[in-house]
Amino acid sequence: MALRHLLCGVMAVGFGFAAVSTPASAQTSGSTLSAVKSKGRLDCGVSQGLPGFSNSDSAGNFTGIDVDLCRGVAAAVFGDPSKVRFRTLSAKERFEALKSGEIDVLSRNSTWTMTRDTQLGIIFAGVNYYDGQGLMVPASLGVSTAAELDGARICTNTGTTTELNVTDYFRSHGMSFELIAFEKTDEVGAAYEAGRCDVYTTDRSGLAAERLKFADPEGHVVLPEIISKEPLGPAVRQGDEQWLNVVKWTHYAMLNAEELGISSENVDQIRDEQAGLVSQGQGNQEIQRLLGLGDDFGAVLGLPKDWAYQVIKQVGNYGEVYEANVGPDTPLKLARGANALWTNGGLQYGMPVR
């Protein structure tokens, strides 16, 4: 065991050395976009199984909002959302896989933090899901707010920000607690379900997903308090702004489509309507720009003119993706909340296409 971790330490040092060469190679190897185009597929890093975000069924089909973002990028680049190869990555592997070029985009419910943006050689392209750390308790306890958790035994993962956030929260509220920190998520869930602890804490979306694995998902409630900010989003390598823009604007295109009322169902109809109006200089200019009917906004990204149309047509707008994977009608039953559009009081805000 000690030897294994020694090796990890040695490898960590090795990665340190590798990190020097990374910026140099990124500059010389040219753009990620042309590399993706020439190999004919997008390599996308996802989680090892988090329902609603990235999860594969028995036939190997991936679903989730993290997965759909990658499909959107593939649709924008190739006009074909199936040209993605998903790579499942552990929390430890994810950033190394991105830095080494093994994957082109990391879409693995990763929290956007300052350290990660500045010290790891990667950069976040946006926030696909605004999350926060939550607390889950068995319904049988009859607890309805975090203020009643004085004296609680809490299960969580070791070595995460989760552990720090919950300690901060209980200390600043002057409540006593007992923290039982496991190395792996599966053991956290098993110990909590067995009753070793009263509270399970991780990101709220993670709680909703983990709960589905329990024998009795209805027997547990997520408390209303959010004790930290966890903005989850896709990340790319630093030093390739063109590729950063492709990922970033794919996300914005999906947000703008929802805001403009364009979905995968009605996109053809709207495009036909607007196409007739373009020549007369009439119609909704925003929709025309987004769907590639007016000026060419694809060429500046290195993409076809109808890139956003392909994303909307083949993957859907942000709202559709949300409802299909994590929304109230899915097993996760997550309300839009902070992830509603800014027009509906949420935080999701697509930058204007113009």
Binding site: A2, G9, V20, T158, L164, S176, E183, R196, D198
Partner: protein, 414 residues
Amino acid sequence: MTASAETPSSGSSRSSGSLLYDPKVRSIFFQVALILAVLLFFGWIVLNTMANLRARNISSGFDFLGNTPGFQTVTTLGTYLMDVSGRAITYLDVLKVGLINTLLVAVLGIVTATILGFVIGVFRLSNNAVLYGFSTVYVELLRNTPLLLQIFFWYFAALRAPWVPDARGKVSFFWDNFHFNITGLYGPYPLPQTGFGATLWALVIGLILTFVMRWWAKKRQDATGKQFPIFWGAVGLILGLPLLVFLLTGAPLRWEAANFVQEGPVLRRGFQKGEGMLIIPELIALWLALSLYTAAFIAEIVRAGILAVNKGQTEAAHALGISQSKNLRLVVIPQALRVIIPPLTSQYLNITKNSSLAVAIAYPDFFSQVQISLNQTGRAIELIVIAMLVYLTFSLITSAIMNYVNSRMKLVER
């Protein structure tokens, strides 16, 4: 280096030929040169690492040990002895807590694995089919499954057992003095009162008197052939004397019972934190798994040791009229121990090192504390070096003790 070689030769005033050709001088020169080369090599590694870390803006050094960690450690013997509640703790405290917890589980594991291993090992040699069958199945089953799997098995078997009540229930035993539920095993905690020191002194005096008694009894036996009941004498001095003093000073020991509350806010019900003694289920599972696993290996070592003693030894002892029990104690076991002790040392080292699997079931042993600190501070090199030094020290101390025992046991050659 060249200068050091030339200096003695130029300053030479000896008449026995050139120092350059003196084999003694030459061997010293090459040894010094080798040591210098090794030191330079390691110095280069250290400096190179530091320079690279600095170039990458990765902070290094041991100053983080004084920083305050933003997490809490589950209550164990370590957190109790380090008294971490109610004060600002540092990463150094976090590591010390882990150190105590590792020592605790290692010592517990060594004691139970040894006892169990000897019993199973003797069963393996038994003519009784049931004992033989049981011990054979035990050894083969536990020796041939991975330890990590066994740790998980005991942990989740303990947590999920239907007869284990939840955190707000309890099962009591031993006249309501001990209790258990899913949060652990609770018992009374001894609180020494003023005057308890006399009992401890009586124990020390008892131990010293036992050694004196042994020395005297051996001398008397050598001189007169009369035997003295050393065992009962030792029991009287080590247990009886402190007990007498304890009772004479008015039993200055109070037992703090575990406090079980059934009213109030739901999360405050159950056993109260910090009252009575608590053994957490993670420790129980790890202790059980380490003991049972290692006992299977020790059983085989014991069996081999006993089989290694020639049957002729027993027959000779019987021919001399030595009784069966004395034959085992004075003839067979001392010889078997010579074979048993060296491999037993390896097993003791294994228990200490295997205890680092604790991280899987949230027992805060030394290695899991190192890992958490590593994740939170990013000081990988420093913490791995600390971990290596600590485990090396543990292993060397264990080896030293066992080598001493071995030297006492081995054949005295004249």
